[in-house]
């Protein structure tokens, strides 16, 4: 608890530097990542992250220093080159995009490793620490580095803010954007450059392998909470920022712990929890909706079959046993009994000594389903010219979905018909 207070009071200027650096880096890559995610190019970030290594080594060989500006320029060039090559291979040959990405990223990385080991074996004393680009060193961000990377992060966020509307358009419908006269090619180029820039700086925090997570994971998590691009970008940035902050805290509490992996761990947990619990799109909420729908269909089918039984012996209110219902149409026994009890609770059915019968509202509901089914069959055969023996399956699905408005339209269009294509009476 002591360290917690100490950390979050931000009294130590070096803590402030690390926190600001980590949060800026993670948040800015999350913002850019939102757009690569929406363009379904999430893995491009991974490719760039690996491809910057030869650029960094080359910059070092040529300049002889570890000046971050040179490093960023070198990294930028090879990162960018890798994307151009991937794009070229994908469009010009039969090789698929994911193969091209995997190939280019690992080959570029291999070249980088070859250069890096060559530099290390050359005995140049200035090279120590070059491999921090591989593993990240968020906790060690100080002074000049911080200013450079902070500036880049701010540039990223401001550029995205300025071109927000255009980027949003090309993310969803680049053909439409082209038709509107928006320079799609330039914007694609801009987004590519932003991605490369984000990777080049973000690598400082988390390293080569985990950089992809900084771009993809916050965006993937944010996607589950909203359908609005602006909100999504904001949520992704906040989630990224939180992970950056917590990563900095972890490395403050336990200096032996690697910061990058912890940042990724935290953002991943946020994302995976989001996948499960997010309202509407989450796994839990989806399966809940599915079960609700399944129950509704079961209930309506059951009421419908009771109506069919009633039609046969012209006594809709007669009690039926479970066996009788199953004979009319097969239902698995357990869900059938559960549905019967549910319908009784809701006041659609009555039960007396094992025999189930309609209440007034229950009969109305069952009758409505039968009516919709037969109306739809008639509509299909009359307007769509589908043979009468092919319409049942479709009606079986649609009968649960038709709204009262649609019901009314159907009735009016078909002029309250008396019989369906199978010569069965349509009940009103």
């Amino acid at each position: 608890m002591e360290t917690f207070k100490e950390f979050f009071s931000f009294s130590d200027p070096s803590i402030v530097a690390v926190v600001v650096g980590a949060v800026l880096l993670t948040a800015s890559s999350a913002v850019v990542g939102t757009f690569t995610f929406l363009k379904k190019k999430a893995l491009v970030g991974d490719a760039v992250a690996h491809s910057v290594l030869p650029g960094i080594c080359l910059a070092f060989i040529l300049s002889g220093t570890k000046n971050p500006v040179w490093m960023i320029i070198g990294a930028f060039i090879t990162g960018w080159l890798s994307l151009v090559i991937i794009d070229h291979i994908t469009t010009k040959s039969k090789i698929k995009e994911d193969t091209a990405i995997a190939l280019i990223l690992s080959v570029f990385f291999g070249i980088g490793i070859l250069m890096l080991t060559n530099i290390q074996h050359s005995g140049n004393a200035a090279q120590t620490g070059l491999d921090s680009f591989l593993f990240g060193k968020a906790a060690a961000l100080v002074g000049k580095d911080l200013i450079v990377f902070g500036a880049v992060a701010v540039i990223l966020i401001v550029t995205v803010a300025l071109f927000f509307k255009e980027l949003k358009l090309i993310a969803f419908d680049s053909n439409y954007a082209k038709a509107m006269g928006i320079p799609v090619k330039w914007l694609d180029l801009l987004l590519t450059s932003l991605t490369v820039l984000a990777v080049v700086t973000g690598i400082q925090a988390v390293g080569v392998v985990l950089m992809a997570a900084m771009l993809i994971t916050p965006a993937a998590a944010a996607r589950f909470w909203t359908n609005d691009v602006f909100k999504m970008t904001l949520i992704a940035a906040i989630m990224g920022g939180i992970s950056g902050l917590s990563g900095a805290y972890v490395s403050y509490v336990a200096p032996a712990m690697p910061t990058g992996p912890w940042i990724v761990m935290i953002i991943s947990v946020i994302a995976i929890v989001s996948f499960f619990i997010a309202p509407k799109r989450g796994i839990f909420s989806r399966s809940l909706q599915q079960r609700k729908l399944q129950r509704l269909i079961m209930d309506e089918n059951l009421l419908k079959e009771l109506y069919h039984l009633g039609e046969k012996d012209r006594d809709p209110y007669k009690g039926r046993t479970v066996a009788e219902i199953i004979e009319e149409r097969f239902f698995p026994k357990k869900p059938l009994k559960a549905a019967l009890r549910r319908l009784k609770r809701q006041g659609f059915l009555k039960e007396k000594t094992g025999e189930w019968s309609y209440t007034e509202v229950g009969k109305q509901k069952g009758q409505r389903v039968v009516k919709l089914h037969r109306l739809w069959e008639l509509y299909l055969s009359k307007y769509m010219k589908i043979a009468p023996d092919h319409v049942h399956e479709d009606a079986e699905t649609i009968e649960h979905i038709i709204t009262p408005e649609l019901e009314e339209t159907l009735e009016r269009m078909l002029e309250y018909p008396e019989f369906d294509p199978h010569e069965e009476k349509i009940p009103y």
């Binding site: 039969k94 070859l114 074996h121 593993f135 985990l210 993809i216 992996p261």
Partner: protein
Amino acid sequence: MVGDAISHAVLPGIVIAFLLTNTRDSFEMIIGAALLGIFCTFLIEFFHKRAKLQTDAAIGVTFTWLFALGVILISVFAGQVDLDQECVLYGEIAYVPIDLWITDSGQNMGPRALYIASLTLILIILFIRVGFKQLYLTTFDPAFAATTGVSVALWNYLLMGSVSMTTVAAFDSVGAILVVALLVGPAATAYLLTDNFKKMMLITALIAIIISILGYYLAVLLDGSIAGAVVTVAGLLFALAYLFSPSQGLLTKKFQRKQINELSPDAS
């Protein structure tokens, strides 16, 4: 790309197996990695199918998470694990001869990694030999495979398990990232050279052998990492095939077009 994901995701499996058995190059390690590889494939499918997450993002989220977990495990048990981040990222094949397998009676049996690699090679060849028909079917026409009673999911998981195995076997020598180039590079090159599946497999194996030999000499020449050099050569061979392949090459196609244009000048 799933190969890339798996090669990173096996890390926690390796670390856990290492903690349990306390040896490197153990058979348990390969099992642990294979399990993690299958788990990774399962997670990607799960996020994609159940949460409707787009595939690329599902892959990205899963493998970075598992890799981060692995690195954290390494740091937590730093004192007990003889593994480090460098080795994970770009192993060093030059150290392989140092790690010798010495039997209890003290007899020197040669480098341990050699045995592991040979064992893996034999297992993989056996797997492909036994399951060739099923693998072939599920790869090219999963729908048809399903109707003939071949379980697409089972063979997919088996294949991914074997990818994980290969990855681990290569871990010491080339690391998690470069193994991707070894998985993809020769296959992609062969893919540009032939349309016949069996020929493609043979060419792939041939290219793999060529790049390891050439790569070694390149590394000696430049005094750099052998794995890095091997991968560089793999990239070069791919570039050559990309430009000059008799049927698919970019320049070949251009040349053919030019010839056709010369033959019939009005056609253009």
